[in-house]
Amino acid sequence: MGIEGVGARVSRKEDKRFITGSGRYVDDMVVPGMKHAMFVRSPHAHAQIKKIEVKAAQAMPGVIGVLTGKELKADGIGNLICGWMIHSKDGSPMKMGAWSPLAVDKVRYVGDAVVIVVADTKAQARDAAEAVEITYKELRAVTDASKAMDKGAPQIHPEAENNLIFDWDIGNADETAAAFKKAAHVVKMDVINNRLVPNAMEPRAALGHYDKAEDHYTCWTTSQNPHVARLVMSAFYNVAPENKLRVIAPDVGGGFGSKIYIYPEELVCLWASKKTGVPVKWVADRTESFLTDAHGRDHHTHAEMAFDKDHKILGFKVETKANLGAYMSLFSSATPTYLYATLLSGQYDIPAIHANVKAIYTNTAPVDAYRGAGRPEAAYLVERMMEVSARQFGVSPAELRRKNFIKAFPHQTPVIMCYDAGDFATSLDTAMKAADYAGFEKRREKAKKDGKLRGMGFSCYIEACGIAPSAAVGSLGAGVGLWESAEVRVNAVGTIEVLTGSHSHGQGHETTFAQLVAERLSVPLDSISIVHGDTDKVQMGMGTYGSRSGAVGMSAIVKALDKVEAKAKKIAAHLMEADEADIVIENGALKVAGTDKNVPWFQMALAAYTAHNLPGGMEPGLKETAFYDPANFTFPAGCYICEVEIDPDTGQTDIVQFVAADDFGNIINPMIVEGQVHGGVTQGIGQAILEGANYDASGQLLTASYMDYTMPRAGDVPSYKLSTSNTPSPSNPLGIKGCGEAGAIGAPPAVINAITDAIGTENLTMPATPQKVWAAIRSAKH
């Protein structure tokens, strides 16, 4: 490892523009003639649209266009789709209802877009939007997935009877039932995984520009995957053929999953630009973001775990109701199925598992992947189950886990996944030592003397990342392949551009990807630029989500580097009249191993482009492309320990320490990996004690601003104690597993296990607010 290469704690190349205010986000983009859009949205959770009157709005100052769904349909713009087919256990395909980008006959959640208004200024567009008169006939609404299938519940889409989208099974029901028959102990739980709003700090935005002369569209959008956006808008929404549509995702201010999807606004802005003849920009207000960004989680689950007399797990039975909201978002069907139930084995050797998942429409915002996406729901269920079981058996939660850990790899679980590497006991030991587990009882006693309740909770999470082998996900219903692409361009003076289909919106790819190249080609970090986020610059790519950019995106770069290195060595060998097998790359030069003979890197590059003296038959230039399709998922895992102190008089939880011991495989830049864990854990703590999206019975979102939805602030969380003990992934050339989502997956059960340990009752739901904790303490006393 050099000071700039793989494994080095290099500060980020991209930072300078962000700390000096020179970042360029979508809202910062200005194009000549640009105008501003506001969407008129449904104030009702469920209603028929009787009449839309736009005349008054059209007459308002500065208004250029007021457009409705009928006009959009007339122009052939398609409905939004979910791109992952799930079949119910009876073999029938999922029941997807129509999602028109602008509602035509019916609205199905508060925030459903109905009309777009384009005006000279945003303020004028806002004024005119208020002048649009829409007559609704209100219908009864249902927001709670556990009630949406009840007899007499309102029917949201005609395609989905009883609001049931699919009724899906995984695992083996008979084997699981047989395991329960043999059980000495059965532990039962009902668990709610609370609905969250992702809340990237940059609100979603889109700027659509139709160039009439070229018959060409450009879309600047807050996207984690601009190429997927172009593909979907071309192939399914009929905006324009791919060669007539350029999608640019410039600096993007956080995503956390919510910016994977193609929403109504970007394609309506593109269409409205053609319709009005001006570039159209829309930027969400924060309240619009709360109402319309895809939400996360929202599961109701009943689970039972069977143990033998020695507390070895025999079987696991799970029934989950997943709330998908009013429409099926782009990957919404995959989240509560293949990203959730395939992880129900946790870190444990469980011989038999059976899970049933019912996906249900409600009159709420669409629900899709949010940091972790299904895996936090699985980890919360499994890790609450382990802790509660240990308490019921009167054994140590750490030892119950240790007894049931998977110890040999590869390990085939009963739910598809084949774990290829890991060392769960080492992570547990590391975390217990870092948390001073041995000293905990003394600390608990001291807290008790001070009138406080102290508790400790464990979480031994596992996740599946490096998403994903294309053929495997294709066989499970994915509409796309999940490979990644890379192009490495060595310029004539030896500087390098790497074009990647991964997208960086906080992850630091401009640094870590460059570190990989610097290590491999022995060139300075400053001579390497990473290019991403523009479909005109970068060939097809699949984007950033599911902790995939290291494991998949960088593996594609490795493949391209292999080709570059091979050609560079051939050129150098030719120039030095040496055997290419003897060429090594060191200190900025290609050398003949064991001699003084060398060609500086830049000289070799120049030779590639002057082409005066290349090996016979070699093409000039030095630029190579690769596509990498992963061999398997990767399996980051670890142990988190949370210690809390609670004031029984107020219910206030103070997180006094949080320890994370992770196994991420090989690491490119420890500083960036730690930053990912800090952020993920904080979102996990947010889910556990602060955050919750709450709808009232009529379908109004009660938590639609930062006044109402509790975001973690600096004072809510501690400084963290992190460590890693890494087993390299055998499934990709770099041995990387991924680190982006671990914190959000592992943290919630650790926190809730700690709080329930402190207060002595399991009767607590997330977010464990002071009010709920106080009430739980009171109810436990009586």
Partner: protein
Amino acid sequence: MSEVSLTVNGRRVSASVEDRTLLVHFLREHIGLTGTHVGCDTSQCGACVVHVDGKAMKSCSMLAAQASGSDVVTIEGLTDGGDLHPVQAAFKEHHGLQCGFCTPGMIMTTVDMIARHPEGLDEATVRAELEGNICRCTGYHNIVKAVLAASKTMSKVSKGKTKKAA
């Protein structure tokens, strides 16, 4: 319409704006300083913090007209084109930013916080003082480290200056 005239990053600017124009919109849309960001509509997130007459201010919480006659400094004007400000340097060194969207507001808040605490800062004070700035990426861990480090650097610098003066 309101006539506003103010100093922004040392430059005099005058414009005629709609009465309802917020300072943040004036900065972003009228004079093209897009480093100041809008992350919410309830004055909670702090992405729009600038300095007005030397004090940290959420620029979404005042009208451009109210700022008329004031001296405003934005993230673009924190240094006069030279080296990074010690707070900017500390955020970079300690990885106190990821997506960068909250960063300008965080840095402007931090500069003000350090100025108000010449005696130095501790972790609890920093965390309490950051109440009005939300970050979704970093979990605050490295922001807190950066603020404490910058506070130390700046107190050394100012002590050095005092000694020289003496």
